[in-house]
């Protein structure tokens, strides 16, 4: 398949889609489509033929049916914050944006759930229920922008998933428009209906099983009390040793996040929290639960940090101070632009006791490839987000970033970890799948995709290194037409 369809076919496609979503429900001019050439992963780009903005499940169904009839690939898209190229329209075709399906349909505190449309922004949900003392637990750093549908598709994590679990632990069910246009309810507000746990399977399927058109999410009561500590360390090594020891001591903090010196400078410049600029690293350490006993737990953490040579451990004394600390953490990516013209974020995972070792190796990789790497991550989970800083106008830097990235991810695998903790495989890490899984493992996954998406028209070229419809080996796939060197 080439990036552009034959012109008359395009005209037919546009005509039929317009009937379904209306003229104001789609865009197709090259200028408007530019935004949709990629998502948060900008190393590869490809232009879709058209982007549609359905307002209802029925409209999604209509669009999907047209795509099937015309043999055009399609791809769901939330806010496009994916960092793995999940929204890259590999085969061109139609992007189905859920940006107009943003209603919170139901909030039922007694039964501990909410029903939302897929385009609802993660943060809106918590904002809606916090007055009642409840929240939606998965809190990706991008929660001000990303959608619940996107979270479901990527099984997102966040700082507080260390204690409360990732997205899959909070999804009760979905309504799914299957790739052939059928609509089914999977799971729902009542738990454990007899049958396979398709909800658990659809979460994290990266849009390859169809378009999620409604989501039942679990709501969680707010903890009675929270203590947020900030540990200042001379070196990354001391900080990672602290993390490892806190987990090893059987303490389950609500969050355990690390920021290194490089990122601290940028964050400080952006938010002026008052981080010491000469620190090697800081740890944000949060415990929550009942008021009774919480200070003891905070004290244990403080003692472990001090034992591991923390220069200072302080507490956020007011809610305002705590909010600013979390804002600095969650919006840190936005500050990275101050460090370099371009950056590439990785998402490796290692067993948490191997963190100190992993960071030492990363330091060495950074030096060897002469690429600066900033680190800010969900340390308690062993999930790292090294940010490789570069200038995309310099091809040699781009090359070195690629090499360094791959070396980091290979090291994660060598230490018993994974190449993605929460951002997904997308197109970015598809070549790592054969390193993680055997051909038999991949075949089993391909068979499952076959049950949902036999034509392969839905999100082609994602997740599995095999073509959509049948299981050709990776080398035979007509993939990466959209891949082009960044410039």
């Amino acid at each position: 398949m080439t990036a552009t369809l034959a012109e008359d076919k395009t005209a037919t496609l546009l005509g039929r889609l317009t009937k379904i979503v209306g003229a104001d429900g789609l865009i197709s001019s090259p200028a408007e489509l530019m935004v949709y050439e990629c998502d948060g992963y900008t190393m590869e780009k490809n232009r879709p033929e058209v982007v549609v903005f359905p307002r209802s499940t029925e409209e999604i169904v209509g669009v999907v049916k047209v795509c099937n009839e015309l043999g055009v690939p399609f791809l769901p898209r939330g806010s496009g914050t994916s960092l793995a190229g999940g929204c890259l329209p590999v085969g061109g075709g139609v992007i189905i944006s859920l940006a107009r399906m943003r209603k919170i349909l139901e909030v039922d505190i007694r039964n501990r759930y909410a029903l939302v449309e897929p385009g609802v922004i993660n943060m809106w949900l918590t904002n809606r229920v916090k007055g009642d003392g409840w929240h939606y637990a998965p809190d990706p750093s991008s929660q001000g922008a990303c959608t619940i549908g996107g979270n479901v598709a990527t099984n997102s994590g966040g700082p507080h998933t260390l204690k409360y679990g990732v997205t899959v632990n909070h999804i009760l069910g979905v309504e799914l428009v299957l790739p052939d246009g059928r609509v089914i309810q999977i799971g729902g507000p009542v738990e454990e209906a007899p049958g396979y746990d398709l909800t658990g399977l659809v979460v994290g399927s990266e849009g390859t099983f169809g378009v999620v058109s409604k989501v039942w999410v679990r709501l969680v009561r707010n903890p009675q009390s929270v203590r947020t500590l900030l540990g200042i360390f001379e070196s990354i090594d001391d900080a990672t040793m602290t993390i490892s020891e806190i987990i090893g001591a059987g303490i389950v903090p609500a969050a355990l996040e690390m920021l290194d010196n490089l990122i601290l400078g940028a964050v400080e410049e952006a938010f002026g929290f008052g981080f010491p600029l000469d620190a090697g690293a800081v740890l944000i350490m949060e415990v929550d639960g009942l008021e009774a006993g919480i200070d003891d737990e905070a004290a244990r953490i403080e003692a472990i940090a001090l034992k591991n040579k923390a220069r200072k451990v302080s507490r956020a004394n007011t809610e305002a101070e705590r909010m600013l600390l979390w804002k600095s953490r969650k919006q840190a990516f936005g500050a990275v632009g101050r460090l370099a013209p371009s950056y590439c974020t990785q998402d490796g995972v290692v067993p948490r006791t191997r963190l100190p070792e992993m960071l030492r190796i990363m330091h060495e990789i950074s030096k060897r490839h002469d690429i600066r790497i900033a680190n800010i991550f969900h340390a308690g989970d062993g999930n790292m987000h090294p940010i490789l800083l570069f200038d995309e106008r310099d091809p040699s830097q781009v090359q070195r970033v690629m090499e360094a990235s791959h070396e980091i991810l290979d090291t994660c695998l060598k230490l018993g970890g994974s190449v993605t903790g929460e951002h997904g495989i997308g197109v970015e890490k598809i070549d790592f799948m054969p390193k993680l899984f055997s051909p038999d493992d991949l075949m089993a996954m391909t068979r499952v995709r076959q049950a949902f998406n036999p034509s392969g028209l839905c999100s082609p070229g994602k997740m599995l290194p095999t073509a959509g419809a049948c299981s050709e080996p990776s080398s035979a796939r007509p993939l990466k037409p959209g891949r082009r060197a960044p410039h």
Binding site: R110, N111, R112, T154, N155, T161, G165, V166, V168, I184, Q185, I186, P189, V190, E192, A193, P194, G195, Y196, D197, L198, T199, G200, V203, G204, S244, I247, G248, G250, I251, G289, L290, A292, G293, V350, P351, R352, T353, D381, G382, N383, G416, G417, S418, G421, E422, I425, L436, F437, S438, D440, D441, M443, A444, M445, R447, V448, A451, F452, M463
Partner: protein, 422 residues
């Protein structure tokens, strides 16, 4: 402990083989496939009565010899083990590091981890701790060619590839035998407490359930026991009950001070609501075990139902009188109700009874998307067919059937056991 041979699966005697390694297990699957035989994955044999009877001659492949610890990096709080290991054995291994896999299981000395996953076992503590799907990080299953296929990994956070583990949990072994798994672990709490709330009359039940949803405490379990279940519980736990009515059981764990604070708060908050004093059970390990094992006598008929949490009390009350010698245990947080009793077990009356109860779990005043379900977990094999055991199909069942066809096209694994077509 060994299983009897031939092993009786719902009235069908099946020869048992005991492969000693995962490779051998795979070879035996391959052999069975070649010989046109079905494979019945067998763990401890404690729950073979679930689902439907076998429909094809075959061999039971027992996992019990697959019981090695593959890797236990305790400081990472994960463990990788073979799934023929019993739940009790795993607990023992983990206790040495003061850790636990906090999932309740009725017969831990016999039940295997594979069986626990295949049946999606859970109990009272699911309110605070979740269910097997919240703990399984990686899984190896044997496919229909006898080859090991793995998914997930050994780290606590990982989104590479489809989460095949979720598919196998609760699949009753119909998508292949599970041989190895990696679990996320929890530290053992410093203290636990189980409080007994005498409720007596029916009208207190709803208030009790509503209160727990908004009280100051954060229980890890909140159960409602019918008078019959309460008697059974008291007998098993060696406790005497304050009165003969309904009983609430509320569990806490965590730091000692936090548990003390919660017990005291619960007592204060429920003072006016309960029919007697809220009592904290001492020597509570035995009480927790009794609570996990509570399921009615062996020969009784068993039901399990799910409804919205707010509908749990209504359903529990209806189930209290469904049959002579009945008992009901309702997990109020999740809306899961287990019941047993001695109904008329001839087919037609039982079917009528089950359909009546199913209607109660699917009240017309609620939207279809909020419908509950009811399955017959245990009954005489002669009365077990899909309509009786699982009830009418749902709209996602054709997709499930397609997944089964994809992963097990020859219908090798537990043929006929699960729903129609699965």
């Amino acid at each position: 402990m060994s299983v009897q041979e031939p092993f009786d699966i719902q009235g069908h005697g099946v020869a048992v083989k005991h492969p000693a390694t995962q490779e051998e297990y795979g070879q035996l699957v391959q052999e069975a496939a070649r010989g046109g035989q079905a494979v019945y994955p067998l763990g401890g044999g404690t729950r073979q009565y679930l689902g439907l009877p076998p429909v094809k001659p075959g061999v039971a492949l027992c996992t019990r010899k697959l019981d090695r610890v593959i890797d236990y990096p305790a400081r990472d709080m994960t463990v990788t083990v073979e799934l023929g290991m019993t739940v009790a054995r795993l607990r023992e291994v983990l206790a040495a590091e003061n850790q636990d896999l906090p999932i309740d299981c009725p017969d831990p000395e016999r039940a295997t981890l594979g069986g626990l996953l295949a049946t999606n076992g859970s109990g009272s503590r699911r309110h605070g701790y979740g269910t097997p799907r919240d703990y399984l990080l990686g899984l190896t299953a044997i496919d229909d060619h006898g080859r090991p296929t793995k998914s997930g990994g050994r780290v606590v956070k990982n989104v590479a590839g489809y989460d095949m583990g979720k598919l196998h949990i609760g699949a009753l072994g119909t998508l292949g035998p599970l041989v190895q798994g990696t679990f996320k672990l929890k530290p053992r709490p410093e203290a636990t407490a189980l409080c007994l709330v005498p409720l007596g009359a029916d009208e207190r039940l709803e208030a009790f359930a509503n209160h727990l949803n908004q009280g100051r405490t954060r229980p890890i379990s909140m159960d409602l026991l019918s008078p019959g279940a309460a008697r059974e519980f008291a007998r098993m736990a060696g406790q005497t009950l304050p009165n003969a009515g309904w009983l609430g059981l509320v569990g806490f764990d965590g730091a000692e001070v936090a548990v003390r604070w919660q017990v005291q708060n619960l007592k204060d908050e429920l003072r006016s609501m309960a029919s007697g004093e809220v009592v904290e059970l001492l020597s509570n390990a035995m009480a927790w075990e009794a609570l996990a094992a509570l399921g009615g006598p062996h020969g009784s008929t068993g039901l399990r139902a799910g409804v919205l949490p707010g509908e749990t009390v209504g359903l529990a009350r209806a189930l209290e009188t469904w049959a002579p010698a009945s008992g009901v245990v309702a997990h109020l947080g999740a809306g899961i109700v287990n019941a047993w009793g001695d109904p008329d077990t001839s087919r037609e009356p039982l079917m009528a009874q089950v359909e009546r109860l199913r209607h109660l779990a699917q009240p017309k005043r609620l939207a279809q998307s909020k419908s509950g379900w009811l399955v017959v977990t245990r009954s005489a094999p002669s009365a077990r067919d899909a309509r009786m055991v699982f009830g009418p199909g749902r709209e996602d069942h054709p997709l499930m059937a397609e997944i089964k066809r994809q992963l097990d096209p020859g219908c090798l694994f537990n043929p006929g056991r699960f729903l129609t077509d699965l």
